[in-house]
Amino acid sequence: MWYPTWALRRPGVSHDAPQQAVDDRNTVVALNSHAAASGITIGMQRRAAEALCPTIVTIERDQTADMARFEYVVERIESVVPRVEIADPGLVFIPIAGAVAYYGGEQALIERIDKELDAFGGDYRFGLAAGPFAAWQAVRSTSDESPLFIVSDDTAFLSSLDITAIGSDDLAATFRWLGITTLGALAELPHDAVISRFGRQGLNAHRIARGMGNEAHPRDIPQDCAVEALFDPPIEDFDQASFIARNLSQRLINQLAPHGIAPHRVVVTAIAADGTERVRTWWSADPFDDHTLTDRVRWQLRAWIDGVSVGIRGGIASLRLEPDDLSGSGRQLALEEDVKAVDETRRALMEVQAIAGADNVLIAVPQGGRDSGQQMLWSRWGDEPTTTARDIHAPWPGRIPSPAPTLVPPDPIPFTVSWVDGTPEQVRLRSRWVPVLSWAGPWRSVGRWWVGEGSSDRYQIVTSAGAYLCEVRNGSTYLIGVYD
C-alpha cells in the first residue's frame, strides 16, 4: 500500500494549490495533481519545477516526522493484517497470503483495509502481487482513477516493464545499449552468461526480472545475530534514542559484516517500561547498511516516542534489532581497511561522543563558497552527511585562492590593523604592533544584498609572526583566517 503524496500531508497545509515535496538534494519526491498538471514530474530539480509553476508551494521532506504520522496508518492496517513491513514513510508491504483466506478473497481484504483507512483520508493505492518487487511496480502503475492493480502472474507482468525498473541507471543504460529494453528480454538471457558478464549486480537484476526477488542465501549465517540493549532508567528522550539507534544499528551491521552478509529486513522490537511490547518490521530492496538502518530505527523510535499513536508508555526499557532475509552483498571494505580496525575506530569515536557530546565529534564535506568558512559543511560524525546546497563546481567570483587558512574562527573576530592611504602598515597582535611585510588583495565579496548582506573586502596580510586573512566590512577589520 502506497501513499504517493505522503510527504505532502502536513497539518495546516492546504491541498488546493500546487504542492511539491523535495528531498535534501532539492529533487522532487512528491507532488499533488495540481503540480502534475503543470508538467512537473518526480525526479525533477526544484528549480526546474518552480520555473514551470512559479506559484508552487515547496515542502522539504522530513522523513522522521513523516514516519511519526505514518505510524497511525500502520497501526490501522495491522488491526486487519499483522506483521506488515514498512519500506518508507508512506509505503508499506502487507503479507496477505493468510489474510486473503481469512477475509474471503483479495477484494474483500482490500475493502476491509480501505474501511480502516477511510476515516484517515488520503490518496492511498494498492498493488497486489506475489513478490515485493512486482507489488511495488504494480502500485506504481496505479492512478487516482484506478487505485488498485492486481497482478495475476508476476513474470508476465514484469516482462513488459522497461529495463529502468531494475533500479540501477548505469546497468539499465548498458542493457539498453545491448538492445535489452525490457525486463522480459533480460529474463530470457542465460543465467550463467549474466553472472559472468555483470557480476552480482547483474545477478540481482536477472533475479528481479524473473520475479524471484534479489535475496541471496549465503551458507554461513550466524545462529543468533540479533542485538539488544537494556535501559535503566527507561529512555524517554528522542535524542538519547537516536544515539542508541545508531549504536545498535552499527553493532548489527558490524556483526554481520565478517560473514559478508547484510539484512534486507530488520525487526525492531521495543519493550516499554510498563511491559508493553511494540514490534515493527522494516524492509529494503537494497541490503541495509549502518546509515540506512540507523535512519529506519530512528524514524521508528520517533514514531513510538513522539508520534500520535499509542506509543511507548514510560519510556523504552529494551530495544532489540533482529535481522532477517539476509543478503550476501555485505559492505565492501576499502583496500587498506580491516574489519577489526574499523570496529575499533567506530567504538572509540562513539565513546568520545559519549564523553564530549555527539555535537562535538564532527566531520566535514567540501562545498562551494567564497570564504573558507563557507567551503565546508559540518555534520555530526556517524550521521548521514548533510547534502550541500552550494555547488562546489560553480565559479564563486571573489573566492580566496589556495592555500586555505588552517585556522578559521567560527565568527569573524575584530582585528586591529593600522591603514595608511588604504595600505595596511601594522597589525596589533595582543599588545604589540607588528609591521606588515607584504599584503595582497582585496578580494571583494558583494554579498546577498537582497537579504541585507553588505559587501566586504578580504586581504592576505603577512607579518613576521605569520600570515592572516582579514575582512574589511563597514570600515572595520576582522580576522577570518590564520595560515598556521
Binding site: 587498506e336 568520545v352 589556495s402 567560527p410 595582543r430 588583495g441 607579518t463 613576521s464 598556521d484
Partner: protein, 240 residues
C-alpha cells in the same frame, strides 16, 4: 581582539628580534645553496617523519605553519583509517587537511576545551583511531601528558601534541618541533597572493639523537610539506 593567549612567551619575545633583523632577508641568506647542508649523521627524511607510537610536540606562534607541519606528519596514516583532530580552540579548518591529501571522511574533528574530559578523550582516541593530533588546553598536568604518551606508545598510535601555552615537558616527545621563523612568497604590496611558505624549524628530541637541529620546510599549500634543506645543528655554530 584576536586571542593571542596561546602564544608562548619565549616565542613572543623572539618576535621583536625577527622584525629588527628582517625575516625575509634572513631566510634568503640562510637558504643560500652553499649553506644548505651540514652533515650531522642523521638523515633529514628520517627526522621529519613519525613512526607508529611516536609522539611529536609542536610549539610556536599561530601562523607559523605548525598545524600543517603536524598534519603532514600524520597524513600517511590516513590511508588506513581516520585522523582525529582534537580542536580546543574550535578553529581548525578541514580545508587545509584536504589540501594535504586527507580524504574528508578520514578527518574527524573533536571539539573539547575542558581539561577534565580532554585527557579521557585523547586516551579514547588513542585506543581506536589511526592517528591523533591534539591541541593541549591550558592547565593540563605534565603527569597526564606522560600517561597519554605512554598510551600512544603502547597502542602504537602516532600522536602530535600542540600545547596552546608553553612547551611539552621534557622526555614526552620523540620529536620536538619549534617554529623559529616564517616567510611567505607570492605577496607584494597589494599584488599577488600567498604562494609558498618557508619555515625554519628547530628540531630536537630522540629523533635527532639529542642534538638540536634546524630544518627549513617549504609549503606550497597544495601538497605535502617538502623539507628543503637541513641547515645545521646548534653545535656547528655555522649560523648566528
Amino acid at each position: 581582539m584576536f586571542d593571542y593567549s596561546g602564544v608562548p612567551a619565549a616565542a613572543h619575545a623572539g618576535e621583536g628580534r625577527q622584525e629588527d633583523t628582517g625575516v625575509v632577508a634572513q631566510l634568503e641568506r640562510i637558504s643560500a645553496p652553499h649553506e644548505r647542508v651540514v652533515d650531522s649523521g642523521v638523515e633529514t627524511d628520517d627526522v621529519f617523519s613519525l613512526a607508529p607510537g611516536q609522539i611529536a610536540g609542536l610549539s610556536g606562534l599561530p601562523g607559523s605553519g605548525l598545524t600543517r607541519v603536524g598534519l603532514s606528519l600524520l597524513t600517511p596514516y590516513t590511508s588506513q583509517g581516520p585522523l582525529a583532530y582534537l580542536d580546543v580552540r574550535g578553529w581548525v579548518s578541514p580545508l587545509a587537511a584536504w589540501e594535504l591529501g586527507i580524504e574528508p571522511e578520514r578527518f574527524v574533528v573533536v571539539r573539547t576545551a575542558d581539561i577534565v574530559t580532554w585527557s579521557r578523550v585523547v586516551a579514547t582516541l588513542l585506543d581506536g583511531v589511526r592517528a591523533v593530533y591534539a591541541e593541549i588546553p591550558h592547565g593540563v598536568r605534565d603527569a597526564a601528558l606522560r600517561t597519554l604518551a605512554a598510551r600512544a606508545r603502547t597502542r602504537r598510535t602516532p600522536l602530535v601534541l600542540r600545547p596552546l601555552d608553553g612547551k611539552l615537558p621534557q622526555g614526552v616527545a620523540h620529536l620536538q618541533i619549534e617554529a623559529r621563523e616564517v616567510a611567505w612568497e607570492g605577496t607584494e604590496q597589494g599584488h599577488g597572493r600567498l604562494l609558498v611558505r618557508r619555515t625554519l624549524l628547530d628540531v630536537s628530541g630522540k629523533a635527532t639523537r639529542g642534538m638540536e637541529r634546524t630544518i627549513e620546510v617549504e609549503d606550497d599549500g597544495t601538497n605535502d610539506l617538502r623539507v628543503v634543506s637541513h641547515l645545521g645543528t646548534q653545535t656547528s655554530r655555522r649560523f648566528p
